[in-house]
Structures are given as C-alpha cells and as structure tokens.
Symmetry: C2
C-alpha cells in the first residue's frame, strides 16, 4: 500500500500534513512517496500572480487563524511567517533530486519548521544547508547537485506531472488515480489506500 | 451554548453540513441558529461572475468527486445536479424570513435534498412550495410573504452581515466571533462552542 504525497514548501496547509504523514502512514503500514512541486506555475496558469490567500485578503485572514488552530490541535509549533508565500524553489529542487533518500522526510520537516515555526528564509542556500547539515555529510555538494540543469528539469517535469494528475493545490495525495486535497484529507487518503490497496 | 450556521442553498459543501448539523448539535446540547445568505454578491465583489468551481474547472472536477465521497461517508444521498450553481434566492428568502420557526431545519434539508439528491429546480416556486407543503398549512401564503419588500431587504442585510463577519464561503459557522469554514469544520465549530461556551 502506498500514497503519493504532493507538497509545496511555501504552502501553509502542506506544513501540518508534512509533519504528520510519515507517522500516520507507518501506523497503517502504508509507504509514502514524496513529491515536491511548485504551485507558482499552476497558479500563474489560471491567472493568479500571487497566492490566492494574498489575492483574496478576507480568505487569507481566515486561513491564518485556521492554520493556527489546526497546528494547535496537531500539537505542532506555528508562527506566522513575516513573508508569505516564501520561495521554496531551492528546497524543492533538493527534495525532488533526492526524493528516495532515507533522510528526505526529515529534511522536508526541517524546511517546513524553518518556514512556519522559526520564520526563516527558506529560499536561501544557508537555511537549506542548515536543514541538511544534521542529515548528510556534505550539504553544499548536494545543494550544487540540486541546482544542476538535470535537477532543474526534474522539478519542472514533476510540476507538469502534478498538472496532468489534476492537482491544483497543496497538499495533495494520490492513491492510484484517486486524488485528495488538503491537510484535512490526509486521514481519508490513508484510509483509501488501506481499503483500495493501491 | 450556540452556533450560527451560515449556508447558501446553491453550495455543494453546505449540503452535507446542513444535513448533519442539527443532530450533531443536539447530541452536545448546542443550539443552532440558521443563517441563509447569498454567495453571489460576495463572489461578484471579488470579481467572480460564477462559482469558483465553474471558473476553475480543474478544481471543479475535484470538488464533484470529493463531495460524492463526503456524502458517501456521511451516508447521505447525492446526485450531481444537472445545473450548478442553482439559484437559491427564493428558498433563502423563505428561510431568512421564517428562520425562527420550528420547521426551518426540516425545510432547509428538504431544499438541499431537492437540489443535490433529486436534481430539482430549487429556484422555482413549485419546488419551494412542495418542500414547504409537508411542514406548513399554507405554503403559497408563506412564499408570498417571503417575497415582500421587507423580506427581500432582510436577506440582503443578512448577506451584508455575512461580509461584516468575515464570511467568504459556505458553509460557515460562527461561535461568537470565531469563524469556521467548510463542511470539514462542523465538528470543530461545535467543539469550540462546547469549550468556549459562547
């Protein structure tokens, strides 16, 4: 049984999902595949030049309060970042290039905590390097590798694949062809994997 | 303890919320106040001339599948309406004008079932009258009353109040000033009412 977890490092609701998915999936014996992608190109394609939470400030105001409540309920730390959405391009390239490495889940959580708990600039190589430094021997080498033409293409293709799969927001989960969207749907996506055993 | 339930008859996710709220609230000893309103003017104000699920078809495609799954999980009937969103103006005027009547919860559910289970045109006085006929003696009299200038103004003011409360979508719940949005947040809104006893 497996679930594909599609996430964007700038996305608020991806944060609690990323913090919770590995444990919840383990408890049910479900394997998680990690699919970082970029929402920017997807939003642009439908005419949004910014996060909808910035374009529609009434919705944005609600979202910040809601995410705060959600994180409190999940018992994960949360501080509203001073910049939103933060550019997760570099971190996404790293996560995409090394998505099968055993340290990926921990790296993903470290980046999310940097953004949504510690208000750090996750677009900077320094932050990404710090997040990597507890997990790998040579962070700089990996960061350079993640910025190769091949790695850039890999992430671009992954974002194109997201679109092909009908993904329009983050976090999303795919169990076979069955799509679930939102932190709120994590448990249902896992239940679907159990029942329909993809 | 009380919760204000804000709903729009054309809204898909309002349907399971409207079907579930009375029983769930009763079990916890929470009183529900019924606040029909119109999403149309709110969408228009932010530049949408249609439901976002029609404007953004990829999101719309997901929504129809998701609502189907949600209704299956809640064990309520669902058939995708042949028209979306349906115009709930008349039904909303009735529900607004008579919101304190004991038959309101049942009337609201009857309209939602007509729309999302029986694919009926809820904008027509005939459908609204049929929904009323099992609950009141003289449906036509009530429908006429709901179309008085006073009743029209009442619904318009209620929609303005929704905007003032920060409501941007349906269903929404207010517990005091605390706002919750979506069928997914029904249980949390009720828990908030219990804990913070508004």
């Amino acid at each position: 049984m497996k679930v594909d977890f599609w996430f964007e490092f700038g996305s608020t609701y991806s944060y609690p999902a990323a913090m919770r998915i590995e444990n919840l999936a383990k408890q049910r014996g479900i394997e998680v595949s990690w699919y970082p992608f970029l929402l920017g190109p997807i939003f642009h394609a439908q005419g949004w030049k910014d996060s909808p939470f910035n374009i529609y400030p009434v919705m944005g105001r609600y979202m910040w309060r809601d995410v705060e409540r959600v994180c409190m309920a999940c018992k994960i730390p949360f501080r509203r970042p001073s910049e939103f959405p933060r550019n997760g391009l570099l971190a996404a390239r790293v996560a995409c290039r090394f998505s099968k490495e055993p340290w990926i889940p921990e790296f993903v959580r470290a980046i999310y905590l940097a953004n949504f708990s510690d208000d750090q600039d996750i677009s900077s190589p320094e932050t990404v390097s710090t997040c990597l430094s507890k997990l790998v021997v040579n962070p700089i080498k990996l960061i350079n590798e993640a910025q190769s033409l091949e790695s850039k293409t890999q992430l671009r293709k992954q974002t194109e694949k997201a679109v092909q799969e009908g993904i329009f927001g983050a976090p999303s989960y795919l169990v076979g062809k069955e799509l679930f969207w939102g932190n709120d749907r994590l448990e249902e996506a896992l239940s679907w994997a159990e029942k329909h055993g993809a």
